[in-house]
């Protein structure tokens, strides 16, 4: 009988705790995933001139998850941050249109390694003190899959990478992860770092009224050089080349022909 009021107090504390939960979502401006990138003729890098750019798809999933946490009453505020030159404000505005409350651009035109990005984000985390940071598991340009884990290391926080399910439960978050063998669920103490996998959610489209509203939401610009992070390059991109092209093969007319070719020409089946 006496456990009843106690549980109520517990619930109330939990509600208060949750009501103040801030979620930080770092996002990256990348080539649109439908575009097949080309390598520059001088092999210095890929050619991004006049190429369609977008929010990295995994970052978009991160924004969606944060916005859903807010809509569910679990999160109180969603802050998005992007590191790059002025052009990444476009992606920050998109995130604001998707439901984020406020945006920060860390202004720099330097070529950064994931380690630098994680160090800059560490400064933002120190300043903003979010309970949860949700990032994409990898960006589809450099395909590094590093930043979230590095940020977790620098902040000393636990991490739930490749998340397909995120459940905030009081002072913990349960994260179900897509791993090689299937799914793994971890419990992390908050604050924590989560990186998204494809199955976490299906991001919404921004509505026109929300796009208009996003234009009036706050977007702060901070110079990366003011954050006290050494941005000296740690890697040197020596060369970028196109991959070896596969020759298109032949079309066979029948299954018999296919089996014959696989046996006698390709010799990959017995």
């Amino acid at each position: 009988m006496s456990s009843q009021p106690l549980r109520l107090v517990g619930k109330l504390q939990q509600a208060q705790l949750e009501a103040t939960m801030k979620v930080l979502v770092p996002i990256k401006r990348v080539i649109d995933y439908n575009v097949k990138v080309r390598v520059k003729a001088d092999n210095s890098n890929v050619d991004l001139a006049n190429v369609k750019m977008a929010i990295n798809p995994f970052c978009e999933i991160a924004v969606e998850e944060a916005v859903r946490l807010k809509e569910a009453g679990t999160a109180s505020e969603v802050v998005v941050v992007s590191i790059g030159d002025k052009s990444c404000q476009e992606q920050l505005r998109t995130a604001l249109a998707l439901g984020a409350d406020r945006a920060i651009q860390i202004d720099t035109d330097a070529n950064l390694d994931s380690l630098h990005v994680a160090k800059l984000l560490h400064k933002v985390v120190e300043e903003e003190q979010p309970q949860l940071v949700i990032l994409g598991k990898q960006s589809i340009d450099s395909d590094n899959n590093q930043t979230g884990q590095m940020l977790a290391a620098l902040t000393g926080l636990p991490q739930g990478t490749f998340a397909s399910k995120v459940v905030v439960d009081g002072e913990k978050v349960n994260v179900t992860r897509e791993v090689d063998g299937g799914l793994q669920t971890l419990a992390l103490s908050l604050p924590a770092i989560v990186t998204t996998d494809l199955r976490l959610n299906e991001p919404r489209y921004a509505s026109l009224p929300n796009i208009m509203k996003a234009k009036r939401k706050p977007l702060d610009v901070k110079a990366a050089t003011d954050l006290g992070v050494d941005l000296t390059p740690r890697t040197n991109l020596l060369k970028v080349t196109p991959p070896a092209e596969r020759q298109a093969g032949i079309v066979v007319e029948t299954v018999d022909e296919l089996v014959e070719k696989l046996k006698n020409e390709a010799k990959v089946i017995a």
């Binding site: 097949k36 990138v37 890929v46 995994f58 994931s114 380690l115 994680a118 598991k137 589809i140 395909d143 590094n144 899959n145 590093q146 930043t147 979230g148 884990q149 590095m150 977790a152 290391a153 636990p158 991490q159 990478t161 490749f162 397909s164 897509e178 791993v179 090689d180 063998g181 299937g182 799914l183 793994q184 669920t185 971890l186 419990a187 992390l188 103490s189 996998d197 494809l198 199955r199 740690r234 890697t235 040197n236 020596l238 060369k239 970028v240 080349t241 196109p242 991959p243 596969r246 093969g249 032949i250 079309v251 066979v252 299954v255 018999d256 089996v259 070719k261 696989l262 390709a266 990959v268």
Partner: protein, 308 residues
């Protein structure tokens, strides 16, 4: 040069991909040690000691490493890192999870997913879903590297390394394991199979994947899938082949009802022979296929099974 390689395992079995990462380490050159972190993992240690080219196997057998949580494993590797110039892991989900943590703790920029070694500080890796190949030089004194196993051959297993037990048992105390939901399968691992047959959205539902099973049985193949097939719930996530799923390079890859989006191609276009079965002659998968059949998969699959 001394190199520490993190052994991929599940406390029972050393993953064959670790043998390929050893080959990558040999291309860098140096004294190579393997680290086995787990709990009750003595069979893994036995297998690790036989890996050719490895002089020492370090063993951290403790409850703190049972589930190889990134927080705990990264602290373990950090403690050992002083003795090594290069720290390597296979770019599978365990290595991808904890290695960047190690790199950040060491203040090193990680080089992810290398497919070739140019020199001790210069590596080749795919970027943009494999649509560009980057040659990257690491400027850090210590290197932290993950390896795309499909790009390297496996070393032999006729070695006899010294086994050293470690006393480390660091538990960061911020994360704990709740549960696993692993897919049980009698078939070979996707990454290790010499034949892979994958189904896409064209399969229409999970039930129809049975049409692939008969063929897989006859060929000793693993079964994979496109993202669309996983998203639609036809099959579990661990079957996804592609840029952001598993990377495979079997002798024979059969793509069934898969259009061939760049993200899918990124995970399979290094296969030796590619077969595409698709009813749309314009599907991009035919641009990489050695043999294509333009036909309805529901006609082709039963016939193919009967003729193998």
């Amino acid at each position: 040069m001394s190199i520490l390689i993190y052994a991929e395992h599940d406390n029972h079995e050393l993953k064959a991909d670790t043998l390929k990462t050893v080959t990558a380490a040999q291309a860098i050159g140096g004294d190579i040690h393997l680290l086995v972190a787990g709990e009750n993992c003595s069979t893994v240690v036995e297998q690790a000691a036989k890996v050719s080219g490895v002089s020492k196997v370090l063993v951290a057998d403790n409850a703190a490493y049972k589930n190889q949580l990134a927080e705990n494993v990264s602290l373990l590797v950090l403690e050992l890192a002083n003795d090594y110039d290069v720290i390597m892991a296979t770019a599978l989900t365990t290595g991808k999870n904890f290695m960047p943590r190690v790199a950040a703790l060491l203040d090193v920029a990680q080089i992810s997913d290398i497919i070739a070694v140019e020199s001790a500080d210069t590596f080749i890796r795919p970027i943009y879903a494999g649509n560009a190949i980057a040659t990257v030089q690491s400027l850090d004194a210590k290197k932290v590297i993950t390896v795309r196993a499909t790009a390297f051959d496996a070393v032999a297993t006729d070695g006899s390394a010294e086994v050293v037990n470690l006393s480390q048992a660091t538990d960061a105390g911020t994360s704990s394991h709740v549960s696993d939901e692993f897919t049980e399968s009698e078939r070979p691992d996707l990454g290790a199979a010499s034949v892979v047959i994958s189904g896409g959205r064209g399969m229409q539902n999970g039930e129809n994947f049975k049409l692939l099973e008969g063929i897989a049985d006859k060929l000793g193949a693993a079964i994979g899938a496109s993202r669309a097939a996983v998203d639609a719930g036809f099959v579990p996530n661990d079957m996804q082949v592609g840029q952001t799923g598993k990377i495979v390079a079997p002798d024979l890859y059969i793509a069934v009802g898969i259009s061939g989006a760049i993200q899918h191609l990124a995970g399979m276009k290094d296969s030796k022979v590619i077969v595409a079965i698709n009813k749309d002659a314009e599907a991009p998968i035919f641009q990489v296929a050695d043999y294509g059949i333009v036909a309805d998969l529901f006609d082709v699959l039963p016939e193919l099974e009967s003729k193998l």
